[in-house]
Symmetry: C2
DNA sequence: GTTTATTGCGCAAACGGTTGTGTTTAATTT
DNA sequence: AAATTAAACACAACCGTTTGCGCAATAAAC
């Protein structure tokens, strides 16, 4: 039938009234008579009129769209996060422009530029692992396009961000093991360069010392997160003079490698050796051998939180020119989930 | 510094020339003198001018944006698919508007409406499980907004779609088992309502008959895909007078349930009983007991394919009014991957 | 019966670009 | 020197919608 969408002009012409009247009638403006309103609305209905959002966005200088740049959607952490983001955006009548950096700093930079020329109202981003310069973010700031950083936070000042604190969850995890009677607890941590590793270690130390136990650094192994790296760490730990009876692993992948290795040695998982991990894999619940507990980072919740902050920023009354801007630095506490295995 | 983005008008005013000259200068139009071009470009650079895409989109009636509606990003099939879609869109300079239906038909309908008012140039969609009416798609068609359906195809005529054919992969899977010496092969299929189930069954039947083996319908179980349903199916199969030596499961979840059940009975996985499944879970590679082979559906590839088709449709010369429109019905053959376990 | 509100609607500008059609100036041709 | 032409730029319309302002008609007030 119709080729192009109906416009307000056509309605005006058909009714022999002006476009402004049609516009106001459709928006229930008080200065339009009831009869006219009715006529306009009836015709609009018949013609399947829908306002051209692009035109409105252009006119108002607002796109009602937020950009989201994530490293990799196939990582379940991020796909859970985008779901949270999208749910909030949908609820608050915003639209989501999605892009993935694939952990490539250059591509990320291009994507940020693109978001700028697309005139998104705000940006939500988890930066690529390789990103080391941050001027492209400054450009957005100058245009008053707010950015909320998310999970992977760049080391720059005066930014909004939402991140999880793994220290708390780790503390709970180690504490849980201690309460269960363990006294020698190993940890397979990640490469020292990651901030997240320090958080894990801090939680470990705090839990141990809070129980007046001495912290033994040789029980915390660093690991490149590969299977061979995990096995090495396991070998060291299991040959330790104080052989651990429980192990906290950096993530579910490491946990799987470690458990497999332990099983091959004839150890019974969660009998001879207890495992606690960090939740990245939804599938872990379906598996045969799972950690007895898991530190949950709530990516869905974090996504929702970040999106809400961004949308709040977009809708807050204009910051008075003199006033200091407040920055949202939200830390979502991680939490120990016991018996994640169904 | 600057509050609003630089516009072409400001440049014009600063240089005392008209906006049209600025526009043409920036676009290297032939009718603009070299000196003027240089002056304009230099100033544009200094002011960080970037054309307002929203304005251009509005003017040209094209948004250079495609809408993507998927049921659930946390399903790895879809997160892989969106990655393929996004990669192609990025490469071809399109932008992706993302939304999830959460398998809710009503929400999906609203999302389709929203895509329409947002004036996306085209739509890519995998319909919700509960979707049973299809008028909302017709509305887009009337506006010449092409739709490419993807993976979950609605039963309507004259549409473009990309889907995988599980018949092929299943044929290969069963054939593989037959070549391995198996003669009694069980299948735990899904609910009969799904088209995908028929494809699986057909592949199974074709493989058996192609080897001149009789097809025994009682070896193909229907199942609701839950753990208890899987167990029931396993009980029936293992108590069958012709006890299967290999089992093809509907998906990786069912495989996990089935393997767990078998192990609890003391059966050795892939020794006493071989398993073949369909790849949905990337994580399966990390696990201890995995199927010996897996039917891959290439969601990433499917996503790329679907996106390419949609963008081709958008960029093809206008269909002559008289000409019959051709519909893309692309079937991506599934494929058996042997030894998926690392 | 004139003035004053009130109601109902139209006019036109604006958002930021693109593009077809003048218009001016200078160079070239004859 | 007059006529033609090409080069370089300006003018203005346009995309669809909103919105401030003005204007007419009717009703109310005195």
């Amino acid at each position: 039938m119709s080729d192009k969408p109906t416009t307000i002009k056509e309605i005006a012409k058909l009714l022999n009234i002006s476009v402004s009247t049609v516009s106001r009638a459709l928006n229930d403006h008080s200065s339009i008579g009831l009869i006219t309103k009715m006529r306009v609305k009836k015709l609009a209905q018949e013609l399947n009129y829908e306002p051209n959002q692009r035109a409105i966005q252009f006119l108002q200088g607002k796109s009602h769209t937020i950009g989201v740049i994530l490293p990799e959607l196939s990582e379940s952490f991020f796909s859970a996060a985008i779901t949270g983001i999208e749910d909030i955006a949908y609820k608050r009548n915003y639209t989501v422009l999605l892009a993935q950096s694939h952990d490539d700093a250059d591509r990320e930079k291009l994507l940020v530029e693109k978001m700028k020329t697309q005139r998104v109202d705000g940006l939500l981003i988890s930066v690529a692992k390789t990103t080391s310069t941050y001027e492209h973010f400054e450009a957005l700031k100058k245009l008053n396009i707010p950015i909320v950083f998310f999970d992977r936070i760049p080391p720059i000042k005066n930014i909004h961000f939402v991140a999880s604190n793994l220290e708390t969850g780790t503390f709970e995890a180690v504490n849980f093991l201690l309460k269960k009677g363990h006294r020698t607890i190993g940890m397979i941590n990640g490469p020292a360069t990651l901030i997240a590793c320090a958080e894990r270690k801090n939680g470990y130390v705090r839990a141990m010392t809070s129980q007046r136990l001495k912290f033994d650094p040789s029980l915390v192994m660093s690991c490149d997160l590969s299977e061979s790296g995990t096995i090495e760490a396991m070998e060291t730990l299991l040959n330790h003079k104080r052989k651990p009876t429980a192990i906290v692993t950096f993530n579910d992948y490491v946990a799987l490698f470690a458990m497999r290795y332990a099983r091959n040695l004839g150890l019974k998982i969660n009998e001879d050796l207890d495992f606690v991990s960090y939740a990245n894999l939804p599938i872990i619940n379906y598996m045969d051998h799972t950690p007895i507990a898991s530190v949950e980072q709530f990516p869905y919740k974090q996504g929702k939180k970040a999106a809400n902050i961004l949308l709040d920023l977009l809708n807050k009354p204009k910051s008075e020119s003199g006033a200091e801007q407040a920055y949202f630095n939200i830390v979502v506490e991680s939490e120990l989930i016991i018996g994640a295995d169904k």
